[in-house]
């Protein structure tokens, strides 16, 4: 077969194949380089003391425990708020909305939201939520708007996989709409909600531009409740501050390595959850 190809065609095929492999190789190399470089530069500076203490100007010491806690708080607050809102919106679109124009308006709005750059969210969040100065809660609310489309989309996708016959069966037994949603539809879309959660957590952990002027720069060690009301830097924001403002690259790389590990973990979790639910669905 190959013999019959003209030399020109063969050259073209050879070139195209080479370019493809080159591009894929480059992409791979970039990922490996980023991963390796950040881990190699960062891991030596991670110590138990760094992770378990707060920074102190007097002792000239940079601990990142407050930053870790702030990240946890903001993730918790944002996810707790965004999940009911996003899942509810998805339920409305998939179960209630009869008006096609309404559906397309809502979907267009969600697409617009997911395209808006985070710096604009930061700015608008600052005007909307920071009447009394920046706080973790203001940051979390900003992140809620940012992640609404994500949770909505994943929930919507899994709602579409709930078989219509389940709903019809429940209706046939005399259940009302709300009862059908509560007992048949919602349990069927758990996978979408969980996937949405994981994606949202990933985005929140990596977000910085939207948080700079909403959640602020605080490094104080607080409990959950007090932490939410005070300004606090998450891991990404303090990486930025350490690297850009203070020039403390050791701490910055340590945080970068932690963030890299978290990203890796979140990716693996998302893949595992996807596999688990696919398997369960096919049973």
């Amino acid at each position: 077969m190959k013999q019959s190809l003209s030399p020109r065609r063969r050259r073209w095929i050879f070139a195209v194949r080479g370019l493809m492999v080159l591009a894929a190789g480059l992409t791979c190399a970039l990922v490996l380089f980023l991963l390796g470089y950040v881990l190699v530069r960062g891991i030596p500076h991670i110590s138990w003391e760094l992770l378990s203490t707060a920074p102190s100007v007097l002792a000239d010491w940079d601990g990142i425990l407050p930053d870790i806690l702030n990240t946890v708080y903001i993730v918790l607050a944002a996810v707790v708020i965004v999940v009911p809102l996003g899942a509810g919106a998805a339920v409305y679109l998939n179960e209630y909305a009869a008006n096609r124009r309404m559906v397309s308006v809502i979907e267009y709005a969600a697409e617009t939201l997911s395209g808006i750059p985070s710096i604009i969210y930061g700015l608008v969040g600052m005007i909307m939520f920071c009447g009394r100065g920046s706080s973790l809660l203001a940051g979390a609310l900003t992140l809620v708007i940012m992640n609404l489309p994500t949770v909505m989309r994943t929930t919507q996708e899994s709602l579409k996989t709930v078989p219509q016959s389940y709903r019809e069966g429940a209706f046939g037994l005399g259940a009302g709409k709300w009862r059908v949603i509560r007992t048949v539809v919602l349990p069927g879309c758990v996978d979408g909600v969980i996937t949405g959660c994981i994606l949202a957590v990933g985005r929140i952990v990596g977000e910085s531009a939207a948080l700079l002027y909403t959640a602020g720069f605080g490094h104080a060690l607080n409990g959950l409740w007090k932490g939410l009301q005070n300004s606090g830097a998450t891991l990404t924001v303090s990486l930025y501050l350490y690297a850009k403002e203070d020039g403390k690259f050791d701490v910055a790389f340590a945080i970068a390595a932690i963030l890299m590990a978290l990203t890796l973990l979140i990716n693996l979790a998302a893949a595992a959850v996807g596999r688990y639910f696919r398997k369960r669905r096919s049973l």
């Binding site: 194949r17 267009y108 930025y240 970068a256």
Partner: protein, 294 residues
């Protein structure tokens, strides 16, 4: 009995109302963002003058006689995005074809895992690596006094838009009906010819959407470019320190007040209009892709 029925109906209506409200939240958010940006951005543009604002070549917000011309930022954002697209799209496109069509299953799984990881890396980490690797590298390679430049910004952006381009293109390429490819193979085309002359043209709307998405990502990125591009309000030049629209907002927000602060909102408004335009384009291509797939 009748009472029970009536209260059940009331419950149904209430629940319907709650879900309707939840559904409308996204619309409310978009409206709120638009209104806030217009209200806080427009008056300043009027005060400075639209022409002076958009096409003024000088930004000196803290000078005694302040100037608010954002042409340097506008052009930097346009050039930076164009550069990132120029570098990122060929690599992303070819990787996507390889991933969707050519790669053996094991390699394919590994590669798409790598692409997801690339998408998940926080932008400040890109910024940090750019600061420590790219900036000194550019300084040495080109013998500059400082490597923080438009070029560094373009390179970082090119890497950052790769995953969006690859993912959307792969989805589009995978949705090409196998009959098209089978027909082409049966007519004697080789696999490579089939991928590039049949599959790619069939998926062109989706690939266009991928490029538009990349444009949006590059235009909106703030933290990574603020760390590598030097942040001086110069007119764009490849080897000079520059400031993007996004970084202009981010860098002065912490200490701005009065007209200067208002001007930052105006910049955000300009950026927002750009993004709305890009979203409209993205929507157009995605819709066309969906219709083409049917």
């Amino acid at each position: 009995m009748k009472k029970a029925k009536r209260s059940r109906e009331a419950l149904e209506i209430a629940v319907h109302g709650v879900f309707l409200l939840l559904g409308l939240i996204t619309v409310g958010c978009v409206l709120a963002i638009t209104v806030y940006l217009v209200l806080s951005g427009l008056p300043t543009i009027r005060e400075i003058g639209l022409w002076n604002f958009l096409f003024g070549k000088e930004w000196a917000s803290t000078a005694a006689d302040p100037r608010f011309g954002i042409l340097p930022f506008l052009l930097t954002s346009v050039y930076g995005t164009a550069g990132a697209i120029l570098l990122g799209v060929p690599v992303g496109f070819l990787t996507a074809v390889y991933l969707a069509k050519a790669a053996p299953p094991k390699l394919r799984a590994a590669l798409s895992g790598a692409v997801s990881l690339l998408a998940g890396i926080p932008s400040v980490v890109y910024g940090l690596v750019g600061m420590m690797v790219l900036v000194p590298g550019i300084r040495k390679l080109f013998g500059l006094p400082d490597g923080a430049s438009l070029l560094a910004g373009i390179l970082v952006l090119a890497v950052m838009i790769l995953p969006s381009i690859i993912k959307v293109s792969v989805t589009a390429l995978e949705a090409v009906p196998p009959e098209y490819e089978d027909a082409s193979l049966a007519l004697g085309a080789t696999r490579e010819e089939t991928w590039f002359r049949v599959s790619v043209p069939a998926a062109r709307s989706g690939i266009a959407a991928a490029v538009v998405l990349g444009v949006g990502r590059a235009l909106g990125e703030a933290m990574a470019v603020i760390m590598v591009s030097g942040n001086a309000p110069n007119m764009p030049s490849l080897f000079e320190s520059v400031r993007f629209l996004t970084t202009a907002v981010a860098s002065e927000m912490s200490y701005a007040s009065g007209l200067q602060r208002q001007a930052l909102f105006s910049i955000a408004l300009v950026l927002y209009l750009f993004i709305l335009l890009i979203n409209a384009a993205l929507n157009y291509f995605l819709k066309r892709d969906k219709e083409g797939g049917k």
